[in-house]
Amino acid sequence: MSVELRSITAMYGDVVAVKNVDLKVREKEFVTLLGPSGCGKTTTLNVAAGLLRPKQGRVYLDGEDITDLPPYQRGMSMIFQSYALFPHMNVFDNVRFGLKIRGMSRQESEGRVRQALELVRLGGYEKRMPTELSGGEQQRVALARAIVIEPKVLLLDEPLSNLDAKLRIHMRSELKKIQKRIGVTAVYVTHDQAEALTMSDEVVVMNKGAILQVGRATEIYQRPRSKFVADFIGEINFFEGTIEEVVRDSFRISSNLGFTLSLPNDRLVGEVSTGRKALICIRPEHLRLTEESKSAGVCVVGNVEDVQFTGASIRYLVELPSGEAVQVRETYSNQSLPSIGQRVSIQIDSSLVSVLEYEL
């Protein structure tokens, strides 16, 4: 089932939580709404669920307008950050609840409940009470409860936020596997970009009530279209620059650090016009450190100010004469590592650079 939100504006009291948001989720897709707290992602989810009535805009399920339908008539399921298991019922009754409402007798639902519990690897837990379960187990019961009714769409509101790190990573793949297996459309909300990038077919980046960019994980990462997206996902370096010259399909941009790049037009987001200020962006892992004497091509020189060993890679902070700090990530290799205070040259590969609209 596909879900579509058109021009949704929703408010909490007097505060506008989302403004003019359009969202399209295709059938069986796993779409993630990603953004910092307060960006409106949960609000959008609640509008899709029917728990919040939008001030403006319509909601469509498989083309049908369901905006006026209450949440219990939409055929969607939702998993909450706090699991929201019914405290006065045991696991079996919790999972069975949706079936009970649909008129299925206890005997009829037994088979399906058992199946759902097996799917989330909680077979045999039927008689336990929610208070006897760990966080991870509660979350899996919530999942079983949500999928046993065979919903058309599965909505997930930061379901893994309350779990510890290792469990979270494990559950990510579990969730994705189950979603693919039962073939349900999923809309997932999180502020954790790693989650969004690993799990989603498509990522929707939101901030301050608006959608900034929609695309596959690779696209969002490699081709951010605004400073916020570039900054929010992964690490990035920003340099101020001015467009010097525009020549048919390429342009030349000079940075305030002295170097000049010649780039094809498709690398630029926004208008290509001479004299325009723009933001040159490059990710730390796309930069290389070499000795000053060995530097070639476009580069800037500075002193290593900090070295952070983060396990799989090493993060360097290089301070330039202008005072700016540049982040560089190198994977651990056999070559000798620059040390603090050492003078290094940062190699810039222009094929990995993007240029964005200038923002402060």
């Binding site: 949440p71 909450f80 929201a84 649909r102 009714i149």
Partner: protein, 280 residues
């Protein structure tokens, strides 16, 4: 061991207080076994006569029964009527509304029992509002409602309501709203969510409120006096009669002990019953 003088100062009033609390209980218990020979004439030997009389007397037995029924009716009514109000006070986001309702409740809580009882005479009395309204509507019920069990139940419900409301607020607030959202997302309509989720989770609050109301109503004195007019007496009125007029303390004490045990029994049974009902 050094005794902190401050502590002694603190403990002294407390000790006096405890003595003061324990004294009545011990008193009543003891006196109930005395032999009553006449006004202010109590003597040994200790006897069970008072208790035997309490259980054997038809008047006393029926009064106990009546007291139990009236207390039960008014407590249940009070809890049922107060439930929406408590619900509102727990969940409403409207500050003005909540403040208004809360003021009404606290006002009723502190208001004089006599005054509140009197106001019902204006409604239920022979020339009261209810009579006039039913006359107007062509129903002939109004005028003989006073001095009946009905009027006492109404009066006691009225008195018990603020207590029920306030007792239920805190337990109701413990029900997390997200649980209701979860139920709705699973397909439960608002009514179904209320029946299957909210009510079962309210049971602790309801049980507590019922207990509070029962304690209050079983010991009622003023309301049955005013709205029962001597025809509908509850146990407290009976005890008053026996003691004040004939100074028969032993009997009065025995009846008080009986009332105490009766109250505890009724409360226990109602707690069990509500829990049983909640599971259904």
């Amino acid at each position: 061991m050094r005794i902190n003088p401050g502590l002694v100062l603190l403990l002294l009033p407390l000790v006096c207080l405890i003595l003061l609390f324990v004294a009545p209980l011990v008193n009543i218990f003891g006196v109930s076994f005395y032999h009553y020979e006449g006004v202010l004439d109590y003597r040994l030997p200790l006897t069970l006569q008072n208790y035997i009389h309490t259980f054997q007397s038809g008047t006393i037995r029926s009064t106990f029964l009546r007291t139990g029924m009236i207390a039960l009716y008014s407590s249940i009514l009070a809890v049922v009527i107060s439930y929406p109000v408590s619900y509102y006070l727990s969940w409403s986001t409207n500050r003005r509304g909540r403040a208004l309702v809360m003021s009404a409740i606290v006002f009723s809580l502190f208001a004089s029992t006599i005054a509140r009882g009197l106001s019902w005479i204006y409604i239920l009395g022979p020339q009261g509002a209810a009579g006039k309204i039913s006359e107007f509507l062509g129903l002939g019920i109004g005028s003989h409602v006073l001095h009946t069990e009905f009027s006492v139940v109404v009066g006691l419900t009225y008195i018990a309501m603020p207590f029920a409301t306030l007792t239920m607020i805190s337990p109701l607030q413990k029900i997390r709203p997200v649980i209701r959202d979860a139920a709705m997302m699973l397909g439960a309509s608002r009514v179904e969510t209320f029946l299957y989720i909210t009510v079962p989770l309210s049971i602790p609050g309801i049980t507590a409120a019922l207990a509070v109301c029962l304690t209050l109503t079983l010991a009622a004195f003023v309301i049955p006096l005013m709205l029962g007019g001597g025809i509908v007496d509850m146990v407290s009125n009976l005890i008053f009669g026996r003691v004040r007029e004939t100074l028969n303390f032993p009997l009065g004490s025995a009846m008080s002990m009986a009332l105490l045990c009766f109250s505890i029994a009724v409360m226990y049974l109602s707690t069990v019953a509500t829990k049983r009902l909640g599971r259904a």
